[in-house]
Amino acid sequence: MRVMSYREAVIEALREEMTRDGNVFLMGEDVGRMGGVFQATAGLWETFGPSRVFDTPISEVAIVGAALGAALVGLRPVAEIMFVDFTGVAMDQIANQVAKFHFMTGGQAIVPLVIRTQGGVGFGDAAQHSQSLEAWHTHIPGLKVVMPSTPSDAKGLLKTSIRDDNPIIFIEHKLLYQTEGPIPEGDYLVPIGKADIKKEGKDVTIITWSKMVLDSLEAASLLEEEGIHAEVVDLRTLNPLDLDTIIFSVKKTGRAVIVHEACKTGGFGAEIAALIVEKAFDYLDAPIQRIAGIDTPIPYAAPLYRAVIPNPDKIAQAVRGLL
């Protein structure tokens, strides 16, 4: 198997889908000549040229809105919003237009649109460039939310997303771009709505996504040394949600810890906790725990931002507390 970075996996997915389907095109700030601020579209402008890879002005509303318009009449845009924080700028388009068109038009309109963006805490990017805003997006019916944690999932899910006829927000994490992992050969797809068990275990289920999968796996290996066998469920997509895999695992272990980087209140972890209670209450041997960001904006200084987000130690600590 080949080893590739998450960033390269994103590029390869885009390259393959653009090659396969002439209706797929990219638009976003600095995505062309420069290859994106995170270099996640590097080389595509050189291959496909300016009629398939559009640098846009700093106009997030029009980026998403124009991508919607193009999708409504025949193309398959992949629009990039540089930071998930700036989906706030384009939120009317996302929430009121993109996500609702198919439904509002009684199924006439189809919106094969992918909004690629990235989020999460990096290194001192501070309050407006570090957020984890997936819960906003999961709260919009009609929008699929995809958040892969590994290069192979990123590639397979991005390809599936581009082929999907529904609008999708595809949220990468700025600290994942440099991470590496094996990539299957050939034209593989990863289904949307299917979680992946990244590590099996019998004592406790850790349910997580995006970069926190890596932190949770690290926590799980710490715990393994102590004889605690944690199962790590990587949701990969939040909407649609693979509830079956979650419930199956929780019934097996009797304990659930939900880990996300986003702040706790109103986070997607609350939704999962509620679903577990609805579907597997009788199987729980301990209260469900949520390990999440603290309810503050992300501060700038390192001692502060480290304090407000989960890490492997905090996750391991929470798991120990359950057993």
Binding site: R33, M34, A126, A127, P297, Y300, A302, L304
Partner: protein, 325 residues
């Protein structure tokens, strides 16, 4: 307000402020190189005439809404380099207790309403400040600095229209440095002029040589006069150039070193002004040398202060979410 009234000391102060902004930015770049700055920073080297010229024609109680490239604006508004460096190094004695960093640095006691990490975030804030001025019936004004790229945000147009219909004392000061990150205005700016967009809103749109501090003063001064006398907003487009990358560490594949050198050689705002001051015998070589030494000392002291300053404690993150927790 106008040049004629500028005495020798005023001229020298302008020059010194520009030196201070540049020295601050150069030092910030160095500290970044040394991995002492936890976040990313956008330096304004090359744009000093715009920040210093603009802020030199406004009063201490006027408001300024700034951008991600805001260190120069803040220094020009009178901020303390010590606390600025402390903030940028993420220290608890920084302007925002290490919570904001370069992109969110602010000093409300100076009417400096903050840098902003969201491009185009400052426009409506300045309109609101202008509205407050109008309702409170003071003779203050509000300035919003913005880049050429920000003129393509919807907030630019919404804010301009609102400021114009309500005749608010707001001045939209564009620092057109020809690029929005990697994107050239020749590609992204329809109509080719930001000042030109003013006519759509029935307000004046001035263009200034943004590398000439006296011209910036003169032109922003006109807009200030208009704003203070209740006639409403203006756009001033300062045409300038940034020498450094969009952010420190930017590989800058989108422009040639020759292009940068051309500006440095021919239009450097500090060099141009220095020659002018010397020709007018306002500044001597030895005085210039001393000024540079003084400025270097201020910066050195500021960095020393910032490096010695304590880091915030993890629990400090829980403070400042609400006024009355």
């Amino acid at each position: 307000m106008n040049q004629a009234k500028l005495g020798k000391t005023d001229m020298l102060n302008l020059f010194k402020k520009m030196l201070l902004v540049r020295a601050f930015e150069e030092k910030a770049g160095e500290l970044f190189q040394q991995n002492l700055i936890p976040g990313f920073i956008h330096l304004s080297i090359g744009q000093e005439a715009s920040s210093v010229g603009t802020c030199s024609v406004i009063r201490p109680n006027d408001y300024v809404a700034s951008t991600h490239r805001g260190h120069g604006h803040m220094i020009a508004k009178g901020a303390d380099p010590k606390r600025m460096f402390a903030e940028i190094l993420g220290k608890s004695t920084g302007y925002c207790k290490g919570k904001g960093g370069s992109m969110h640095i602010a000093d409300f006691s100076l009417g400096f309403l903050g840098a902003n990490g969201v491009v185009g975030g400052g426009f409506p804030i300045a309109v609101g400040a202008g509205l407050s001025i109008k309702l409170r019936r003071t003779d203050q004004i509000a300035i919003v600095f913005f880049g050429d790229g920000a003129a393509n945000r919807g907030t630019f147009h919404e804010a301009l229209n609102m400021a114009a219909i309500w005749k608010l004392p707001v001045i939209f000061v564009c620092e057109n440095n020809q690029y929005a990150s990697t994107t050239s205005i020749s590609y992204s700016l329809a109509g080719g002029s930001i000042a030109g967009r003013a006519c759509a809103y029935g307000i004046p749109g001035y263009t200034a040589n943004g590398n000439d501090v006296l011209e910036v003063r003169e032109i922003v001064g006109r807009a200030v006069l208009r704003a203070r006398s209740g006639e409403g907003p203006s756009i001033v487009e300062n045409k300038t150039y940034r020498y450094r990358g969009h952010f420190e560490g930017d590989p800058q594949k989108y422009r040639s070193p020759q292009e940068i050198d051309g500006f440095k050689k021919e239009q450097d705002p500090i060099a141009v002004f220095e020659i002018r001051l010397k020709t007018a015998k306002v500044l001597t070589d030895s005085a210039a040398k001393k000024m540079r030494k003084d400025v270097a000392q201020i910066i050195e002291d500021a960095v020393h202060y910032a490096r010695e300053a304590p880091l915030p404690q993890p629990e400090d993150a829980m403070e400042d979410l609400f006024v009355n927790p």
